[in-house]
């Protein structure tokens, strides 16, 4: 198992996440896809940490998890508020602002 496989896997996960953002309607799911992208990055970081034999990668991964957690808090707050107003979490319903 060379590191390339890990990197490729991470890249695939990242792409899946990105595509998910594009195709899914539910805000929660979209957000989860973003989380997936972040975690694929974590994988990449760990891999590089291993390959370069440095520790930063692992540290950064921890940081990323913390930040992601914070993002979840904020994000869910926003999504909840709009959900309670509109009774819908579909991102396609929020397009009053355009052009």
């Amino acid at each position: 198992m060379t590191i390339t496989n890990y990197l490729v896997l991470a890249a695939i996960l990242f792409t899946i996440g990105a595509v998910g953002v594009l195709v899914r309607r539910n805000a929660i799911v979209v957000f989860m896809c973003i989380e997936l992208m972040l975690n694929s990055v974590n994988l990449t970081l760990i891999t590089f940490a291993r390959s370069t034999g440095t520790v930063e990668g692992q540290v950064i991964a921890l940081f990323v998890m913390v930040v992601a957690a914070a993002e979840v808090v904020v994000g869910l707050a926003i999504i909840m508020s709009i959900y309670r107003t509109r009774r819908s979490a579909s991102v396609d319903d929020v397009n009053l602002l355009k052009y």
Binding site: L22, V23, R25, V30, V91, D92, V94, N95, L96, K98
Partner: protein, 638 residues
Amino acid sequence: MNEVVPASVPVDGLLSVTWLVIVLPLAGAALLLLGGRRTDRWGHLLATGTVVAAFALAVACTVALTERAGRAVSLDLFTFIETGSLDVTAGLLLDPLSAVFVLLITGVGALIHVYSIGYMAHDPGRRRFFAYLNLFVAAMLLLVLGNSYVALYVGWEGVGLASYLLIAFWHTRPAAATAAKKAFLMNRVGDVGLALAIFLMFAQLGTTSYAGVFGSVGLLAGGTVTAIGLLLLLGACGKSGQFPLQAWLPDAMEGPTPVSALIHAATMVTAGVYLIARSAPLYDATPTARTVVLAVGAVTLLIGAIAGCAHDDIKKVLAYSTVSQIGYMFLAVGLGPVGYAAAIAHLLAHGFFKAGLFLGAGSVMHAMDDSVDMRRFGGLARRLPITFVTFGLGYLALIGFPFLSGWWTKDAIIEVALDRGGWSGWVLGGVAVLGAGLTAFYMTRLMLMTFFGTPRWEDGVHPHEAPPSMTAPMVLLAVGSVAAGFLLVAVFPLSGWLEPVFGEPEEAAHLVSPLVVSIVVTVVVALGALTAWLYVGRREVPTTAPVRVSPVVTAARRGLYADTVNESLVMRPGMWLTRALVWLDARGVDGAVNGAAAALGGGSARLGRVQTGFVRSYALGILGGAVLVAGALLAVTA
């Protein structure tokens, strides 16, 4: 040919105030125009006074001139324009040639001012009329007195303006207004030629003064001289109503009759002749240009004469006669040194009798309630005796009745034309003789229709002789018409007086003896007159022009289609072009600008559609951007 270069004798005494000759009438004009209604009562008297004074001064100056070496004085007044290598000094040149013209202008001008006092007595715009008349005299004097082509040009355009103002004097008449515009524009066309000639002189010689230019004609390439000559000719044609720019002159008769007499018969229209005569040193150096002058003269001579035969408007007939007579003068100056003196002589004689004829015509109109239709005249001889006599004398002088002015001066021209020899000599001579015959025809026709036969007047017309203020000038001019030729050719030969300008008049060996010439001419003239009598003298003249006539007559009535040609070749295409350009400017040039703006707006609106408001499409945009960026960077590195 440097005689015109003034002797550097300090100018003093009377001659040093020659400029007063110009300033007097100018001041008159200014006073009348600025003075406003205050000057209504005495304005015309003042105007006349200034011109008379100018005439007196001119006589005095001319006398003083005779005592001077070289008979020329050049006065530098002030620096007009000086920059770079261009140095135009406002200055005057009084020499035999200009002196002759100054006398003619002020003299005839004074007479016509006097005449106008009576003629315009009841016109509300009298003050304005006299102001313009003075303005004209001033400009015309500047034209002939200037000592450089620029000065001449200034006067040249000045008389154009005065002519415009006077033709349009009764400007509420559309015809008058249009005629004035036409005159100005066709003159302007000629002015382009004159202007370009001046530019060419400056470009080649770095000067525009007569002295400078004539002093170095020899240094010019032949082609250049010819070009200058032709350009000057263009200017001359415009001003003198010569072919192909003759069409404005007949229309100019819309102006008051004194104007027609002074400007469009005696003085302004002869400016072209003056220009060419003045530029003698140039023309002497270019036979080509001179030949063209000859051709123009000959053609115009005939056109004028032919058109004159068919018109019923007394003033138009006289106008075409003027065109034709000036054609004679062009013919003469075109012949070169031998012809200059003859041309000037004819010019002066013509000035007298044609002015006289116009004043007579004016008197007739005065009697006939301003009607100009000869078909409604007839039998006026008894009602207007003085007019009849003076007009008659002018008529005889014009057709060249033996021993009257016309006979002396016209025959002289025909002689020099024949003396040219070769086929061209015969052709030109023949044309001149033919012209004489036609002149006799149309003038006799005019006489008969106006003064003889049975009255064909409109109802309520009661012809009466004009007041003395009008008849007096007519008498004086009649005297001039009788005597001028004899005096100028036989007693004080003009050629001698002009010798400092044109050089020694060489006595050419006549190919045809003058006697024969004058006999032939007289016979032809008699024939012409007879024909006229056969046509209009014997039978009743219909009060309306016959409609069914030969194409020749139609052509003649339409002035040989000069207007038609101008319209179809210049006016209409011009109007089309203008309309097309207006469209192009609005739709094309400005349209392009507005179109670009509209395109931007449209693009903006279309591009704005991308901003759908859907989060996911925005995300797609970002992703796409990211891919592009990544791709671009990899492309750069790879």
